[in-house]
């Protein structure tokens, strides 16, 4: 639709161009306007006319007295792009021209993509962050700008990077820390900041140790507190598999960790072998000799 308007305006302008130049009717257009800033277009000649301005996001019209400037207040033209201006007197275009509206160089808003939102501790380059920088009117700022990234891990350590934007975007990669918990990932460009939270979770269990105690006719089998290789407690709900083998008979039970340990009751059979595993990590094996 906007393209159609521009085409019609352009065609009219071309048709009337020679006549208007002969009559001394013209306008002076700035080559570049910052989005959202006030600007004016100077006209020459006399009599009333209408100034049309059309671009990718907006179309404006102003009644002007030729010979006087046509003023546009702050915020009147805020969408970046290439605009066409046509001055129409009566029903004929008398002058035309084009200009660019460019984004303001002050970052006002960041679109910050941080992935993943959850990852295991101790992962090199496991966190990626990408930032798109926008001005106050939501125009992508394509001129190079420095963006600083900072990842604050639960241990207190901070990783920092400064990356210059290319075509309005900047990205970086960070390592996850050694301690579980929420890490703050902050991107900043000028006065604009955006924060994401990265959940650092424990890795696979590192050493899985269990012990066995008789409990009536049963055996109470319990793991030591289950931790990953960085010493973080493996979260409750993680499945631990216990297997008891006796005389070719096997009993298996998958139990979730509760309060840091996994615990189960299994049949007490002298000579039975009990093993423990979680995911692909195997723990110790105990041969139950009837309490001896």
């Amino acid at each position: 639709m906007r393209g159609g308007i521009s085409f019609v305006l352009g065609a009219l302008a071309l048709a009337a161009l020679q006549a208007s130049v002969a009559a001394g009717e013209s306008m002076t257009i700035p080559k570049q306007v910052t989005a959202g800033s006030a600007f004016s277009i100077q006209t020459t000649g006399s009599g009333p006319a209408v100034l049309y301005v059309a671009g990718p996001g907006q179309a404006l019209s102003r009644n002007v007295q030729m010979g006087e400037p046509a003023s546009f207040a702050s915020g009147a033209l805020h969408q970046a792009g290439h605009y066409l201006a046509v001055l129409v007197k009566g029903s004929s275009p008398v002058a035309d021209g084009s200009f660019d509206v460019v984004p303001a160089n002050q970052p006002a808003k960041l679109s910050f993509l941080a992935k993943p939102s959850r990852l295991p501790v101790g992962l090199r380059n496991g966190i990626s962050g990408s930032v798109y920088v926008f001005d106050a009117y939501g125009n992508l700022i394509t001129t190079p700008l420095p963006v600083s990234f900072a990842l604050s891990t639960p241990s207190g350590a901070v990783q920092k990077r400064v990356v210059t934007t290319q075509n309005g975007a900047a990205s970086t990669q960070m390592d996850s820390g050694a301690k579980e918990g929420a890490a703050k990932f902050i991107a900043q460009a000028g006065a604009a900041t955006s924060t994401r939270v990265i959940e650092q979770v424990p890795g696979d269990p590192c050493t899985l140790q269990m012990s066995v105690q008789p409990s009536g006719q049963q055996l109470s089998v319990q793991t030591a507190p289950v931790r990953d290789c960085s010493g973080n407690a493996v979260p409750d709900g993680t499945i631990v598999s216990f297997t008891e083998k006796y005389n070719g008979i096997q009993s298996t039970v998958d139990v979730p960790i509760k309060r840091g340990v996994a615990q189960v009751e299994m049949p007490a059979r002298p000579g039975a072998t009990i093993s423990v595993a979680s995911g692909v990590v195997a723990g110790n094996e105990i041969r139950w000799e009837g309490g001896r």
Binding site: F112, V197, P202, V240, V264, G279
Partner: protein, 376 residues
Amino acid sequence: MNKGGAVLAAAIFVATAAFVAIGTLHPVASADYFARGRTLLRPSSTPEAAVENLGSEIRLEQWQKAYSSLGNKAEFTENEFVHDLTGYYPSLRTYATVNSVEAHPLHATADTAEVQLILHWSTVVGGFVDTRDLHLVRNGDRWAVDWPLVKRQHVPPQVIPVNYLRWDVIYRGPGDDWGAQDVEAPHVRIVDMHPENRAEGVFVLGELLNEDVVPAFVSVRATLLGKSGATIASEGSFDMIRHTLLPKQVTPFLIRFPNADLSKVTSIRMDPLSVLVPASADPVIEVQNQKYNPAPGASLTGDLVNESGQTVNIAHVLTAFYDKTGQVIWVGGQYVDRALLPQTPVPFEIHVPEDLARRVSGERTITATYGLGDSM
């Protein structure tokens, strides 16, 4: 009407009258049954006939007639008899129907007999077999069945404190900025995969691990690719997988490609799917007394024990069988037809193909459970 048409009409009329007369005088048993409410059953003059009659009544869900025919009906009520067959608690039996009945004589004297009754039940997830060894007593010229009632299992009144873990999920909202974070999908990994060429087709088996710290709804899809990279077939694991995987839990899976030929397959593309879902760590099901019974008739038997306080209505047992190198060579499954009451063992049996039975060196069993109100 021309002459030919009149002759044809007369012939049809005469033929119809003749068929009606024949049908009335010599009706087939099933037509007679539906027309006049007569029974299809033959007199219970032999032990086999008595058991077949009982089986037919059960198949037709004629509970009153079946109960009335029993010799030991004074020992239990009709309601107990019905629930013995259809389940005391909602279970797979509740949604099953008897498809066919077999009666096999075991032993007989002049006044008593032993006959095996095999009820073939069918359900939406496949069939199961109910075998009862029946004792029969002669009463005049008729034989009456003493029904071996499986008594209702009672869990003593008690309070079981449950402090199980539960995961709830809050997803990003529709009004959030497009760069805003959403909860990460669980990370899952196929830790073992093995194609098996069999007479029925190609089977892709393996194991899937949830290596994350959150629960996952998982599924696996396999695509067989031919020499030119063209897709031969693509299938999912359907119910031969435990769909809800808790953190660090491993499930076996089996994907069937009926009528496919492994020699025509150059590669297999595996697509594990995982979605973050709310889940509960309860119920915990212990698999007790697993015993591998070698060929012939190789099977894995054991008992399921529900260690939680809630009744599990339907349980699906899945077993991965391994060879000496630890590779999965078969995945078997069985739906348990009765509900799992707290602390009450329920047996299961999973059969292993005879040609693979010799290679089995170990196994691992897990259980998928469904309760009333759960999404299935």
